[in-house]
């Protein structure tokens, strides 16, 4: 790790940050012939404070919503120069699902040769834990706090994988820092020339924003998959496959219980919310099992 994978020590991320875990492992697969285009996000802020930089690969930061478009420009330039290399756009959930959605859609539609990685920590963490469309139902954030008239976020998570796959992207997959080998394999596939443009959606449990002890980052990522709150699958040139099947899912309660952002759901009167979440997870699983040809 460290020097070899293109992301040096000394970045100012929080203790227990999942994003740097993801980035180090992604860069280990991508190698030095890589250009990273980063949207304004936690990752960008912790790694590129002038005059320091944590990046051992070429790195470009532009604005918040255009990681995808800038990456498209880089890939066209490399093509023009006859240089072969990976172009990886990295953005948070805000820079992918919300403000970045237009640029992402444009790049995917044009078929620009980029790999887009969404590091999803479920909120606009960089600016202080504000709600995004990727925030899960019932979660507390600073702009969707629970209160007398609110249970937290009242909308379901935006189905970005469905949006991306409907662009007929050659390769798209969900991944998690709780399953690094699976993540690395997906990155490898996503960077294959024939699979571009590709999209990887990485679950990144954030100790500060989700309110849990920093040592539990990887444990919670694993629990998300074990409860079905996060499903690991890939759509490889039309072939849908669940890469981490879960025989007997743990109840979602076990996942929700570990994080302070859901603690209000355990107060009396909010049982209905947990029930709704369980039903939604069950229904998602059913849908995906069907897509993968299983019952």
């Amino acid at each position: 790790m460290g020097v070899e994978c293109g992301f040096y020590q000394g970045s100012t991320n929080c203790c227990g940050c999942p994003e740097t875990i993801a980035v180090r492992n992604i860069l280990e697969v991508a190698g030095k012939k890589t250009v990273v285009v980063n949207a304004t996000s936690c990752l960008e802020i912790v790694s590129s404070q002038y005059p320091h930089t944590s990046w051992g690969v070429n790195y470009i930061h532009g604005a918040f919503e255009n990681a995808s478009a800038i990456a498209s420009g880089v890939s066209l330039a490399l093509e023009n120069m006859g240089k072969k290399g990976n172009v990886i756009a990295i953005a948070g959930d805000g820079g992918t699902l919300d403000i970045g959605l237009q640029a992402l859609s444009g790049s995917l539609e044009r078929g620009d040769k980029i790999c887009f990685v969404c590091l999803d920590n479920n909120a606009y963490m960089n600016t202080g834990i504000q709600r995004s469309s990727a925030t899960p139902f019932g979660a507390w954030t600073t702009t969707s706090p629970h209160g007398r008239f609110s249970i937290g976020k009242e909308e379901w998570k935006k189905p970005i994988m469905e949006i991306v796959s409907s662009h007929r992207t050659p390769y798209s997959a969900t991944a998690s820092i709780g399953f690094i080998t699976d993540l690395k394999e997906k990155v490898r596939k996503a960077l294959e020339k024939g699979n571009l443009p590709s999209f990887i959606h990485v679950e990144c449990p954030c100790p500060l924003g989700w309110k849990f002890d920093p040592s539990k980052t990887v444990e919670i990522a694993k629990l998300a998959v074990e409860t079905g709150m996060w499903i690991l699958y890939e759509i490889d040139n039309g072939n849908f496959r669940i890469t981490k099947p879960v025989e007997k899912r743990k109840p979602v309660k076990e996942y929700l219980r570990t994080q302070g952002r859901f603690s209000h759901l355990f107060k009396s009167g909010n049982e209905g919310v947990i029930k709704k979440i369980q039903e939604q997870v069950d229904s998602e699983w059913g849908k995906l099992l069907k897509l993968s040809g299983q019952k």
Binding site: K32, K33, T34, V35, V37, E44, I45, S48, Q49, Y50, P51, T53, W55, G56, V57, N58, Y59, I60, H61, G62, A63, E65, N66, S68, A69, I70, A71, S72, G73, V74, S75, L76, A77, L78, E79, N80, M81, K83, G85, Q102, A103, S105, G106, E109, R110, D112
Partner: protein
């Protein structure tokens, strides 16, 4: 050298083809559409080998140019009005990152109300963005300025992006004879892009964020680069004149009839053509024209010198800063000490500025009329 009858937009397209940017990314908006349509035809026919990206918005179009330029490729885009407004933040990114992107702007008003005709509100809104701005009077000038803009922008002492502005419809859609420079000539004048290129063995970080202790230094550098640009613009103009026979004043400003003038009118763009015509037709001796070609960097010294001998001045502009008046007028007022500077705002939203209007403006300048005068 070939001579063709071309629209302003097509003249720009021809110039871009000769400058050979490796990536062109654009989104259509009236009245710039003919520029990118002509470029698309050239690409489809193999006349112009470039990576043409049909961006899904102007914000993305400029972002694609940012990415490509940061990777080491010459780029081009074009826009107008709402598109320029939409890419506003990326304009600051591009100039802050010191990337010499060249953009053609077919000046058009900003909604609301929606209007597709000419005024300068789109580029005036970007005058602090750190982009150089050149305003053209004719299709020929637009052609010549695109080529010069790349050379100026890519100069290592400058490294700033440039906008080449033409009045929407008035120049973009009107046919004029244009001398198309020879490819060899342009290639010699404007060699391949030599800016920083992506090197996998020597990776760099671009676009880092800067805290309060460093940010101001970046801005100061940008400002110094803009000031350096003035000299580069002059030299580029002279060099271009040597090889093509066409120069535009000093490159920063042009004057007409100022030798014996008692009064001066200051303006930019196609209005200059109208004014020249009026002065010539009506045989006017006491009025001269100071045409500002380079709005940014603003040629303070040269304008002051040009206005030295006159009694009073008028500034005619196609823009209004509500609550103040015309922005250009106030920039000029700062240079003219005690003399009267009459303020004229007209032509907004494509409003026709006729010969009679110009003659009335001249009279008002002679009378040193006060207050904001709407043409």
């Amino acid at each position: 050298m070939t001579k063709k009858i071309l629209e302003g937009s097509h003249a720009i397209a021809e110039a871009v083809k000769l400058c050979d940017p490796g990536v062109v990314a654009a989104y259509p908006i009236t009245p710039q559409t003919h520029i990118i349509e002509r470029l698309s035809e050239m690409v489809a026919d193999g006349e112009f080998k470039t990576k043409f990206s049909r961006a899904e918005s102007e914000h993305s179009a400029m972002s694609i140019c940012l990415g490509a330029q940061a990777s080491g490729i010459r780029t081009f885009t074009a826009s107008a009005s709402q598109g320029v407004a939409l890419m506003h933040e990326v304009l600051y990114n591009v100039s802050g990152m010191r990337l010499p992107v060249v953009m053609a702007v077919a000046n058009r008003s900003l909604a609301s109300p929606l209007n597709i005709w000419c005024d300068w509100s789109d580029t005036f809104a970007e005058r602090d963005s750190g982009w150089m701005q050149f305003y053209c009077e004719s299709a020929q000038e637009a052609f010549d300025t695109i080529i010069q803009a790349y050379k100026i922008a890519e100069n290592p002492n400058v490294s700033l992006p440039a906008m080449v502005c033409i009045d929407g419809f008035i120049l973009s859609h009107v046919y004029e004879p244009v001398d198309i420079a020879d490819k060899k000539l342009v290639r010699k004048f404007l060699p391949e892009y030599r800016g920083r290129k992506i090197d996998f063995d020597k990776p760099v970080t671009q676009g880092a964020w800067a805290g309060p202790d460093y940010f101001q230094a970046f801005k100061r550098d940008q400002h110094e680069a803009m000031r350096n640009a003035k000299d580069v613009i002059r030299r580029t103009n002279s060099e271009f004149k040597r090889i093509s026979g066409r120069g535009y004043g000093s490159g920063l400003i042009e004057t007409y009839n100022m030798e014996s003038a008692d009064y001066a009118i200051v303006t930019m763009g196609s209005l200059c053509g109208t004014i020249r015509h009026v002065i010539k037709e009506k045989n006017i001796r006491d009025m001269g024209l100071v045409k500002i070609k380079s709005f940014r960097p603003f040629p303070i010294g040269e304008i002051k010198k040009a206005l030295n001998g006159v009694k009073s001045i008028g500034v005619l502009e196609k823009n209004i800063s509500p609550g103040l008046g015309g922005a250009l007028c106030y920039e000029i007022r700062g240079l003219t000490r005690k003399r009267s500077v009459s303020a004229f705002v007209g032509g907004l939203g494509g409003r026709d500025v006729k010969m009679e209007d110009i003659l009335n403006v001249f009279d008002d300048i002679r009378e040193e009329k006060r207050g904001l005068i709407w043409v």
